[in-house]
Structure formats: C-alpha cells, structure tokens
C-alpha cells in the first residue's frame, strides 16, 4: 500500500534559514567579495545581485582523512594495456593515482566557492555598516499621506459603520435604566396583591385589589412602551486619519564637465553617484535627484544628458553652487527635505572663483544641507579648490567631507569612508 502526497505547494525555501546562517557566518569574506565586485562591475549591473566567491579553504569543514604517502593499493577499472608486474610513472598532478581521492572530494577542487546573492542581499552587504550622517529631519509632509486607523467608538457616523453589539448593549442599558423605578413599583404592588390574596376571602379588601390590578396593568404597559431601540443608542465604529510620517531626500549631483574632465573621469564620477543614489534609496522612501553640470555656467539637466553629453570650456564651480541654492529655494524647502550634495570634479577651477565657492558653501548651502561630499578625481596634485574646501571641512567637520579618488578601485572604499557609521 502506498500513499501519494503532493508536496509541491509546501514551503519552498526550507533551506532559507541555513542559507542565512551561511551568509551570517561568512559575512566578512562575502563583504570583501562584494566590494571587489562593485569595483569591477559595469555601471548598469552595479545594483544587481550576483555571483560572489569566497576562498574554499575559509569555509572548509575539516574531517580526519588519510594524507598522501604510505603504501596504497587501489583497484581501478578500464585496464587497456597493463599486465601484472608492469611499472609505470606516477601520473602528473595527482589525479588518477594515489592522490585521486583529494580531487574528487569537493567537485570544484581548490577553486573558490561561488554562489549567487539576490539583489537585496547584495545591497545589504554593499551598504552594511554605513549610515547617512545627520539624519534628523523626518518632516511630516502635507497632503494625501494619511492612513485610516480604528479609533474606538463614536455616537455619530455613517449607517455603514454601525457597531451592532455596542448599539444593542446601549439600548439594553437604557431600557434597564428607564424602567427601573416602574419595575420596583410593580414588585411592591405584586407583594401587596399577594398579601391580599392570602387573607381570608371574607376579609379581603376587594376595592383595593381592583385598584392594585389596574395600577399594575398601567405600569406593565408603560414598561412595554419603552422603545426597544432609540436613536441615541446607536454606536458607530470610529475611524480616524493618521498622517504617515514620510521622509524625503533630495540629492544634488554636481559634476564638472569642462574640457579637462575626460570620459574615464566622468565614468568614475558616475559610479560614485550611482552608489550614492542606491544608498539614499534604501534610506528614504522618496528620493529625488537633481543633476547639475557646469563648466563656466551651470545648468540643470536630466540624467542622460548629465552623463553623456560633452561640453568644453573653462570651469567656474561657484556657478553650480549658486544654481543649487536657487533650486533649493524654489523647490526643496529644507523644512521638508533632507538635502544631500555630492560634487565630483577634477579639481580645476577658475583662479579667483574658489573664494566665492567657500563663501557660498559656508554661508548658504551647508546650513541647508544634511551632508555635502566632494570627491576629487585626479592623479595630479591638488589645486586651489581642494585647499578651499579643506578649510570648509575644518569649519564644518560633520557636514562637509572631501575625498580623493585616483582610479576606479578607489570608489567603493572612499564611499565607505564617507558614510561609515560613526560611533557616537
């Protein structure tokens, strides 16, 4: 007798817990592998899940077994040319002969152990241990964002929301309260009637008896007439609107597109911006991005133009800062928005512009921003802009930071450096 059971609808991810355990245990190795992957990936795939590898030796489960050496005998199939007593050289690489056992132990041999992470897991590892600095504003923003929650019982409401149990209970209470005196009187009368009925027939006060009966009938009638359900018995379920706290962030990406920025430098800047964007997205429900590019004058552009179009000319950094300031004033009230700025440049700036940058930055932008980061992508020495910004950094160490990037491989470490959790 056999039982046939369809288990296909059972939970599929029985191993999910074990998988999590594995990821938890090898957190550090996986993190390293993820950070390598981030540096080497193409920009389009940067947030995809994907294959990560960690060295097999790190995750081994040791058991005791024989090593090479000693006197080994072994039976093998498929003899073609040997006869008893033949002597042959040991095969190269240990396969086949005495060392064969090791090779078959673990399918992949000494390679790395590789497996696939989902997008969510990948991002978790990517941004693990990072936080947004100065995350204070969680401003309630206006319209539309309410949710309805139950708020107890009310005396008024729509017929559809009548709470039947509570209404009937109220009606019952009212009836008991309104008729209490009458029922008490009714009981008294009954007792008097009983007393009369127990007297000898001859001595009964028949007139009084008649009166009693008439009064009792009147009272029972009055009790009966008490309304069973009255309008003020009705109770309604109350729903109240609760505003949903929402946090919104806007990120300003500012990039120098002057002639001195070549494609490779722009590519580095782009990777940095994308990382920042992904990170913000995980922290805020609503993230907006404003792209500003500048040479001698600044312009707000869409993403495509930001990354792809080419312009040439000199560089005036302050133009972009001015634009950022006016956009903030126009559209992103600092009361409602968390404002982040990220600026990438190769460090070139018009000779005497740096001073006005400093002024704009310290006096106007930084008081509005949560955080402003500046990365300089250049293999050369720093110029005036870097030194100016260093002064800003000293004045606002919490809000302003600057980092130097030389090649693609620096991006992720620099990014981690900018956002790593600061122990309070």
């Amino acid at each position: 007798m056999s039982y046939i059971i369809d288990r296909r609808l059972n939970a599929k991810h029985k191993s999910a817990v074990n998988r999590q355990r594995f990821l938890r245990r090898y957190r550090d190795q996986i993190q390293k592998s993820v950070s390598d992957a981030v540096s080497s990936r193409s920009i389009k795939d940067i947030d995809k899940g994907g294959k990560v590898s960690i060295p097999t030796k790190d995750i081994g489960e040791p058991v005791i077994h024989h090593g090479n050496g000693g006197h080994n005998t072994r039976v093998l199939p498929g003899n073609k040319q040997f006869s008893t007593g033949d002597r042959v050289n040991r095969p190269e690489g240990g396969a086949g002969g005495g060392g064969g056992k090791n090779a078959s132990d673990s399918g992949e041999g000494e390679d790395d152990f590789s497996f696939t992470l989902s997008q969510e897991e990948f991002l978790d590892f990517m941004f693990d241990g990072l936080e947004l600095p100065n995350l204070i504003k969680r401003q309630l923003s206006g319209i539309e964002e309410f949710k309805k929650v139950r708020g107890g019982i009310a005396n008024e409401g729509q017929p559809g929301r009548i709470n039947i149990v509570r209404s009937l209970r109220a009606a019952n209470m009212r009836r008991i309260a309104l008729t209490a005196g009458k029922r008490k009187r009714l009981l008294e009368l009954e007792e008097q009637l009983d007393a009369i009925d127990q007297q000898e027939e001859s001595s009964r006060d028949l007139l009084l008896r008649e009166e009693l009966i008439a009064e009792m009938a009147k009272i029972s009638n009055a009790i009966k007439r008490t309304p069973w359900l009255d309008t003020f018995d009705l109770k309604y379920n109350l729903q109240i609107k609760q505003p949903i706290p929402r946090s919104k962030a806007v990120m300003f990406c500012i990039m120098d597109v002057s002639g001195s920025m070549d494609q490779a430098t722009k590519d580095i800047a782009k990777r940095f911006f994308i990382l920042l964007y992904l990170f913000l997205q995980r922290n805020y429900e609503k993230t907006e991005i404003v792209f500003i590019r500048h040479h001698t004058s600044a312009k707000e552009v869409d993403e495509d133009e930001f990354f792809h179009s080419r312009e040439t000319g000199g560089t005036v950094v302050s133009s972009s800062l001015k634009l950022m300031k006016s956009i903030i004033e126009d559209r992103y009230s600092p009361n409602e928005w968390n404002i982040y700025g990220a600026q990438a440049s190769d460090g070139d700036n018009w000779g005497d512009d740096s001073a006005s940058c400093k002024e704009l930055m310290s006096d106007h932008l930084l008081p509005l921003c949560q955080y402003y980061s500046y990365i300089e992508i250049t293999p050369h020495d720093h110029q005036a802009l870097w030194r100016t910004y260093e002064e800003v950094h000293e004045a606002y160490p919490d809000k302003f930071s600057l980092q130097h990037i030389i090649g693609v491989e620096d991006i992720y470490p620099v990014f981690r450096e900018l956002f790593h959790k600061k122990v309070a």
């Binding site: 056999s2 288990r7 040791p62 199939p77 006869s83 002597r87 040991r90 497996f115």
Partner: protein, 504 residues
C-alpha cells in the same frame, strides 16, 4: 485490431504524469514486486518541485534537520551548479523510515517516475527493511520522530544560548562525526517522546558522573599513588563523541545533548556508508527486473523501454581510469553488475562459475539474491560474490603506490592469477576501517593537566592529512584541555599533532 488490443493493456502512453497514473503504476509495480518476494515498508511517495529537491539535497536527505550553516553552504553550491547546468538533480531521494519516504520530482516525465518508483520504493525500500546492518543499527519507525526532537532541542538551545554558541559546538561535532559511531554495540531504539523525558534525567545524571571523575580533592600526596592509578579510560575508546559526551569535564548539559544528537544521526547514516554498492546495485537490479517484467506483460510500450534503458545505462556507466570523467568506481555499476551476475550464475552457470561458486551455481536466483542482500555489507559482499566475469567485464586492475618506490606497480589484473587478489583488494577498499584513519582515545591525564591523548594506528604507513590539525582544534573545544594525537606505526610515534600547539 491487434494494435488497439495491445494499447488497451498499456498502463500509460503519454509522457505526462498525473497522480492517477502514478497511483496505477505504483500498484502495478507493487504487485509484480510482491510476486518476486520483495518485502517492503509501506511507501509514502511525495511529489516535489526541483527547488524542494535542492532543499532535500542540502539537508543530506533528512526530511527534517536542525539549522546549520553547513547545510546552507551545501544548498548554495547545489543551487549554483544546478542553475549553471553543470549538474542535473538526482532523480530520487529515498529515506530509510517507516513508512519509507520517496521523493519524485515534478519535472520528470512518466517514464522517469515509473523508474524512480521501481528503484526507490521497491528497490531501496526492501533493502532498508531486509539488510542486517539497517535492521541492527537503525530504527526506521522512530527516525522521523527523533529528527523532530533534535530540531526542536537545538532551536531551543539557540534561543537560550545564542546561535553562535550552538553553532560552534555543532561544528566541532561535525568534524568528528565519523568518530561518533558505535561499531559493535547495538543502540537502543529512540523516539522523540521518550527522548524528551529522558533528556532531563540524563543531563542531571551525567553531570554528576563527570564531577565525580574530576573530583579534585587529592587522596594522597606524593608520586606513589600515581603509579597505581589505573589508566583512564581503561580500554582505548573508538567512539570519540560518545567519550566526550560522557566524560568531557567542562561541558554544560545541553552541550552534551547536542553531541548526542550528532552522534545519533551519524549512527543512523553509518549503515548507508557501508552498503552503498549493495544498496544501489540492489535497487538498480530491481528497477531493471521489474520494468522488464512490466514490458513482458505488455504494460509498457517500446518507447517507454527505450527511454528507460537510456537513463539506466547512463546511471550505470563506468568511465575508465584514464577518462576525464573518472571519479572512482561507480557503485551503481559495480553493484548492478554483481547482482546481475549472481542471477546469471544461478541460472546459467559456466564451468568457471561452478568452480568459484559451487554453493550458488544452479540455485534459485531470487533466494540467493535475497540471501546476499540480507546478510552482507559491501566489503563482505564483494569478497563473497565478485565473480571473475565481472572483473573481466569491468577490466579491473590494481595498483600499488608506495612512497618508497619511484614507480607505481600494477599488482594484479583481470587474469587467472589476479582474480583472488583483485577481489581482496577491492573488498578492502570498501572496508570503512581501512578507508578512515583508525583513531582512538588512548588516555586522559586524570591527575595532572587533564590532557587527552589519542592514538592513530597507522595502516600501511599512511599518514594523516593536514586537516587533522584543524580537527584537533575542534576536539580541543569539546574537551577543554590540551589534546595530543600521535600517529603510531607499531610502537613508534611517526607524527604528532597538538592543540594548543606546543612551543618549541
């Protein structure tokens, strides 16, 4: 006319499976199996998806397992190679329990389902029920129960003591799992209910025993007493996990229970490790025989047989030693060839067979096969039944690889002079005692630093692999004091491992 008559007796013609078809097919196979005298546990056939099959894989086939990262690792690597198409999933997994649970994958077509039913539900199932090792060492009725207990117990421990704490104990136990088996004593049957009742009692009792062993009050001063102190343990112990569970000085009761759980599970798998060739050979033999019988009775079509034979042959393929696909002797091939050959010897013995197997040549093949299935394990089965014909067919030869020689010697091939030697060597290859290093607990320094000393008795001068150092760390974690391991060749110490490492 003839055509329609024929197709009406066919069980199925489409390649799509359905629950009705599976039920009918199982019934038909079951009836034929009964005629052949296969005695089985009731079957519980579960249809699962490929993801669930990967889950089952990761849990080493246990339907319920405690959580541990190593199963997650297993799952990830299975998933990875499956997704990349490097590896197909096994057609079936069957669990030695009563009722016997067999998994069918929904992706397979009807032919494969029939093959799996014959192979797992009647082949493996009857082997689990009949073979003496399984009868002695495992308790099919209670294993599921026990696994439930183990899982619950371990998750309770995790709640109480933290995941990392429990994990590290299990890690250490897994490293020593192969040394957690009683080879000669029969274990008591276990059930979840009793186990829970006994667990508390055992924990208290054990702790008392341990404390007694480590009584710290000195009996008498001076070295005189030390000479008279009997060695502890009085006999070398081969079940290292058992020894630790009972005697390790610093473990908490729950840690002892975790050791016990791993030990019990190791014990449960112990027969499977010793009967791989026989078990697979038996199952392959019966799916082959049963499905052929169905064909002879006109229950399945020619197309079915072709498809079935194709997957059958790929399962029992044996690449030669120099092929890139070679990874040792395929237990399916060897087992199937031997089982088929026993039947041949019984039915059509040659002169050679009469010489080699006077007892079974010409006997009833089914009885002989059942006898072999019931009373042997791989080692003794090969020693007893490997015939010259099978050795010739597989072109077996043996090599001697000695590190004192600079060349490998071919010590025997499939010829008249070599059969006996080949058979002995091959049987030895399946002896777990030879395959795994022989390591026993030798002594404990009870009066001194409580160091634990183990001896590895070398077999054919084979040294231990370097992984021993790692394993020793795990042993050290469970023991709590110094651990020494000596590789002994005779009375001579060839190699020593210490944890913590000795300063020199």
């Amino acid at each position: 006319m003839k055509q329609s008559k024929l197709s009406s007796s066919l069980l199925f013609t489409s390649s799509e499976w359905s629950f009705d078809l599976i039920r009918e097919c199982d019934q038909a196979i079951g009836e034929i199996a009964k005629e052949f005298g296969l005695d089985t546990y009731p079957n519980q056939i579960e249809v699962i998806s490929s993801e669930q099959m990967m889950d089952a894989y990761a849990a080493v086939g246990m339907p319920i397992g405690y959580h541990h990262w190593s199963y997650g690792k297993q799952f990830l690597s299975t998933e990875n190679s499956y997704r990349r198409g490097q590896m197909g999933l096994a057609y079936e997994i069957v669990i030695n329990s009563n009722p016997c649970i067999a998994y069918l994958m929904e992706e397979n077509n009807m032919t494969m389902q029939a093959l799996v039913i014959a192979h797992a539900c009647y082949g493996h199932n009857s082997f689990f029920k009949g073979n003496y090792l399984f009868r002695t060492w495992t308790d099919a009725d209670s294993i599921i129960d026990y696994l439930v207990f183990a899982k619950n117990y371990i998750s309770k421990c995790e709640e109480r003591h933290g995941i990392s704490e429990v994990e590290s104990i299990i890690d250490s136990c897994h490293a020593l799992m192969n040394y957690g088996v009683d080879r000669y004593k029969r274990p008591y049957p276990i059930s979840a209910h009793d186990e829970e009742l006994r667990q508390v009692e055992r924990a208290e009792y054990l702790q008392k025993q341990v404390n007694d062993l480590w009584r710290t009050i000195p009996k008498s001063a001076g070295g005189k007493a030390e000479k008279n102190t009997p060695r502890f343990p009085s006999e070398p112990q081969e079940n290292i996990l058992y020894f630790l569970e009972k005697n390790s000085p610093l473990l908490e009761p729950w840690q002892r229970e975790v050791i016990r759980i791993v030990r019990k599970i190791a014990q449960y798998f112990y027969p499977q490790r010793q009967t791989q060739v026989m078990n697979e050979g038996w199952a392959c033999f019966w799916h082959y025989t049963l499905l052929h019988e169905m064909y002879n009775r006109g229950m399945v079509s020619d197309g079915f047989m072709l498809e079935f034979l194709q997957s059958h042959t790929s399962v029992i393929a044996q690449p030669a030693y120099d092929s890139p696909y070679f990874s040792g002797i395929n237990p399916y091939t060897l087992g199937f060839a031997m089982m088929m050959d026993i039947r041949r010897i019984c039915e059509n013995p040659t002169k050679e067979d009469r010489e080699w197997f006077p007892d079974i040549a010409g006997s009833n093949w089914n009885e002989t096969l059942h006898f072999a299935m019931r009373n042997f394990k791989d080692e003794s089965f090969i020693l007893q039944f490997l015939s010259p014909k099978v050795m010739r067919d597989l072109k077996l030869f043996s090599i001697v690889d000695d590190d004192h020689e600079d060349k490998i010697e071919i010590s025997a091939i499939h010829d008249e002079g070599g059969f006996k030697r080949l058979r002995e060597i091959l049987a030895g290859q399946y002896n777990l005692g030879n395959r795994e290093p022989n390591i026993q607990i030798y002594s404990v320094n009870v009066r001194g630093d409580r160091a634990l000393t183990l001896h590895h008795t070398m077999h054919n001068r084979k040294p231990l692999a370097d992984s021993a150092t790692e394993v020793l760390k795990h042993l050290h974690r469970l023991w709590g004091f110094d651990v020494h391991l000596h590789s002994m060749d005779g009375d001579e110490i060839k190699q020593s491992f210490h944890c913590p490492e000795l300063d020199e």
